[in-house]
């Protein structure tokens, strides 16, 4: 199982902070994962309507859309950061 955690407005639109999912084989990259979540349900469609505004960290490291998604491990999905 892959653990996915959501932050900021992505979490609010998803309605959950995290979940564990069994990924279909076709989901290979971060971009695939975002597209899969967007197509899965209404919450996903709201959270991931603009994939270009979503950032990801895979197993603790920042990852681009082409990065591989592990079958088990952790992926964080979040908007561009606004600290400081």
């Amino acid at each position: 199982m892959l653990r996915i955690s959501y932050f900021a407005w992505v979490r609010e639109r998803m309605g959950i902070a995290e979940e564990a999912v069994a990924l279909p084989d076709a989901v290979a990259s971060v971009a695939d994962l975002i597209a899969w979540l967007a197509a899965r349900d209404e919450a996903g469609a709201r959270a991931f309507a603009e994939p270009q505004r979503i950032c990801a960290a895979v197993d603790g490291h920042m990852a681009g859309p082409e990065a591989a998604v592990p079958r088990s491990g952790e992926v964080a999905l979040f908007p561009p950061v606004t600290g400081g």
Binding site: A8, W9, F78, V81, T82, G83, G84
Partner: protein
């Protein structure tokens, strides 16, 4: 000595400065970021990642220590709900020489805005709630250090 903290508690800048200064450094530079009450803002909430936010701050601190000769570095970011006037971020950098201390502080505060997993949500007196959008100018400032 490097001190990094991500904390929901109020930042005690005076106590942090005293602890930072125990080495008797030649030059100390500092930056304090506070919540602005612009436009009727009543609360600023800082969302963070339980592990990666601190890891990001620690990586930034290590990067600064590798770029400049620093005798001490303190980097503290508050998270959770805050009111106007509260301190969000404190950066203290000390070196034998002022140029290195000042440059390190500017580097850290610029990179904080683009490299660390923190998200601001604003709540206003009229009930509006909005997540702050990243500004292009923040990226411009951060990229100067690449």
């Amino acid at each position: 000595m490097i001190r990094v903290s991500v904390q929901p508690e109020a930042i005690d800048a005076a106590a942090e400065q005293t602890a930072h200064d125990t080495g008797g450094h030649g030059a100390s530079a500092s930056f304090i970021g506070r919540v602005r009450g612009d436009g009727g803002l009543v609360e600023l909430f800082l969302d963070h990642h339980p592990v990666l936010t601190a890891a990001g701050l620690e990586a930034l601190a290590a990067d600064a220590a590798a770029r400049w000769s620093l005798a001490a570095l303190t980097l503290i970011h508050r998270v959770g709900p805050m009111a106007p006037g509260d301190t969000i971020v404190l950066v203290l950098a000390s070196s034998p020489h002022r140029a290195e201390a000042l440059a390190a502080v500017e580097f850290l505060i610029d990179r904080l805005k683009t490299d660390v997993m923190l998200w601001k949500r604003e709540r206003f007196a009229d009930g509006r709630v909005q997540w702050v959008e990243q500004r292009g100018s923040d990226h411009g400032r951060a990229e100067r250090w690449d």
